[in-house]
Symmetry: C2
Subunit: 129 residues, 2 copies
Amino acid sequence: MKYYSPSETAERTGFSLDTLRYYERIGLLDSVHRASSGHRRFTDDDIGWLGTLSCLRNTGMPIVEMRRFAELCREGDHTMGERIALLEEHDARVSEEIAGMRDRQAYIRNKVKWYREVAAPAASASASV
Amino acid sequence: MKYYSPSETAERTGFSLDTLRYYERIGLLDSVHRASSGHRRFTDDDIGWLGTLSCLRNTGMPIVEMRRFAELCREGDHTMGERIALLEEHDARVSEEIAGMRDRQAYIRNKVKWYREVAAPAASASASV
DNA sequence: GCTTGACCTGGAGCGCGCTCCAGGTTGCAC
DNA sequence: GTGCAACCTGGAGCGCGCTCCAGGTCAAGC
């Protein structure tokens, strides 16, 4: 079985060393292997799981909910339904978030357009906001 | 000229009273009118500006950059170019953010799909992640 | 055997963006 | 004129998610 050192894992997952330790500490990573020296040894499974965590985190899932998800995963296959529910709720929130971002982006683009119209044609007399 | 009380402004903009005061304090709101009592009186312009701030904030612009933008607005029409540049850079970041969210959302949906395949057909023997 | 660097642990500290608090004033309703 | 709610100010505190630190261990190279 292939093992990865903490620094290699950090590099592969995009998490910092401290964050990897932190995630283990708070229960997002369960029972990370140790070398006889006590040094962490991450597996491909760990890397994969960290990828999932990264994805959830970067879509705005709060840590406490990721912990809940991790817990469900640890509890076994009978929690599939709950896991699906959790992810689908999150998915819905992500959709809302994206929709909101789009709307706000449109607002910003409009503002830029308006600025261009005011700014370009002539040093017009009107005030600016 | 129409004036709005702090609480009415909070209601209209979605910002809390404390946030309105905070934004004024750090220079995101400039020279808010006062009643003789010292109470703030917001104008329609203020409300509009707060809408812009809300939009920028909710698309992830950090406060320090909003301050820069506010400063440019205060400096007058000759800063139009810089304002446009700032907003367009932000717009680009928002686009990236949205694209990233979409990708991650696809990952999550895939995961759900996979869960459904594993969970539904039979209480299969394989482990879960 | 000594250095060097990657790693360990427990716990403190930090940056951001608010949010809350104490102690006081204002102004409307009764 | 007494309540009461809304507001004021300056400054402290907080929640989140890390990030840093001190003091120590381990393993490999010279």
